[in-house]
Amino acid sequence: VTTGTATDTLGAGFGETCFPVWGGTALAVVADPDGATRAEELLRDELAGFDRVCSRFRDDSEVREIAARAGSPVQVSALLAEVLEVGLRAAELTDGLVDPTVGTVLAALGYDRDFAELPADGPAVTPVVAPGWWRLAWDPANRTLLLPRNVELDLGATAKALAADRAAARIAADLGVGALVGLGGDIAVAGQAPPGGWRITVADDHTGRAPGDGPTVAIVAGGLATSGTTRRRWRCGGVTLHHIVDPRTGAPSAEVWRTVSVTGASCVDANTASTAAVVLGAHAPSWLAARGLPARLVAVDGSVRTVAGWPTENPAGDAR
């Protein structure tokens, strides 16, 4: 955990805190050199709430409780209701490329426990097509969910982005300053942006432990999300798998893009689009462009495509 005034790297006037979470890194940056401790407190509280509600791997999580009561209507917490709404909206807007029922798919592929606990090479697996988000009987007025039997939720993709959006807004409101929250590839900003915007380096790996740094761009509001297949890879039956699955086939999505970075009005929207783009593969650029979503796509051979107003890059790799 690092917390403090980040004058050495970010310039004077910022506080920063960073700690591991969910197999990745949580980051908060605030435009207040004395705000890091409070920002971390708020961020940890927000993340703890999401973990209690959404974790597939905690015996006491709310989604596990709902799974145990599959086939019966269950009233869910306000936070899970919000997460579900976001996940179902993402499914609708992507025609199911992002689907909250992929928990069933991931479990079939052997990703049925915390990633760090997966064996080096598990038994062979057989893909299972996602049951489909429309099978969830969701009553938003009463916050009641009826989960069909044999359907397992995985709210991870959109839940993490929602956590970033919520935490950034909460920190900005509490401290009265601009705030950035990063959860792995998902970045959300809220409040007053610093002059020139929040500077974000897009990369293959959010930890910076792997090569593949891209350009540094600035955003002033909303979110930036990067989805990619370079992390969370595991093996089953001698086959290497990754975590961005195609709900239509039940298999890991074809590796057309190494990473896709998208900006949106929120981190949720950016993440929804970046995840869908990885699954879409070759059709992703036109799909993103049709929606006016600025994006940068890095193919498996390292070549880069940009669409919808993402700054183009010069040969040195800098965006213009």
């Binding site: 097509v129 938003p140 959010h206 740094d213 992390r231």
Partner: protein
């Protein structure tokens, strides 16, 4: 719980795109019980039998082509074949038909596109990469 179908019908009549959503849990007749049970039965295939000709939802496929059962599916080979080259997701999964747009049903672009910054990368506030 025996009103899922009833509410889906209501949603359709009202033009609600979100046919999956239950608009209320009011007490109701037995006619919808069978449909509700079909949703709930353990192991029920996602690609259920086509609705009958009398079924008002007959033209609204709700299943997954191929079903979600592992039975009959091939194990992953060292070169797994994924279908992400397919341009139309709906064609493969027979998604529920939509009837009209509802508010906020669009992925919202940013108010302002990202801009290039010439700051050294070591001075960036954050990194966004695969996680």
């Amino acid at each position: 719980m025996n009103h899922i179908r009833q509410d889906r019908l209501a949603g359709r009549e009202l033009g609600d795109t979100r046919v999956r959503r239950v608009t209320g849990w009011v007490a109701g007749g037995c006619a919808s019980l069978a449909a509700a049970l079909a949703l709930l039965l353990p192991g029920a295939p996602a690609a259920a039998s086509p609705p009958s000709a009398e079924d008002p939802l007959a033209s609204e496929p709700v299943g997954v082509a191929g079903g979600n059962e592992a039975e009959g599916a091939a194990p992953l080979s060292p070169a797994p074949a994924a279908a992400s080259g397919a341009p139309d997701t709906g064609a493969q999964r027979q998604l529920p038909r939509r009837h009209h747009q509802v508010p906020q049903q669009v992925i919202q672009p940013p108010a302002q596109a990202p801009t290039y910054t010439s700051s050294p990368r070591s001075h960036s506030h954050a990194r966004s990469g695969a996680s």
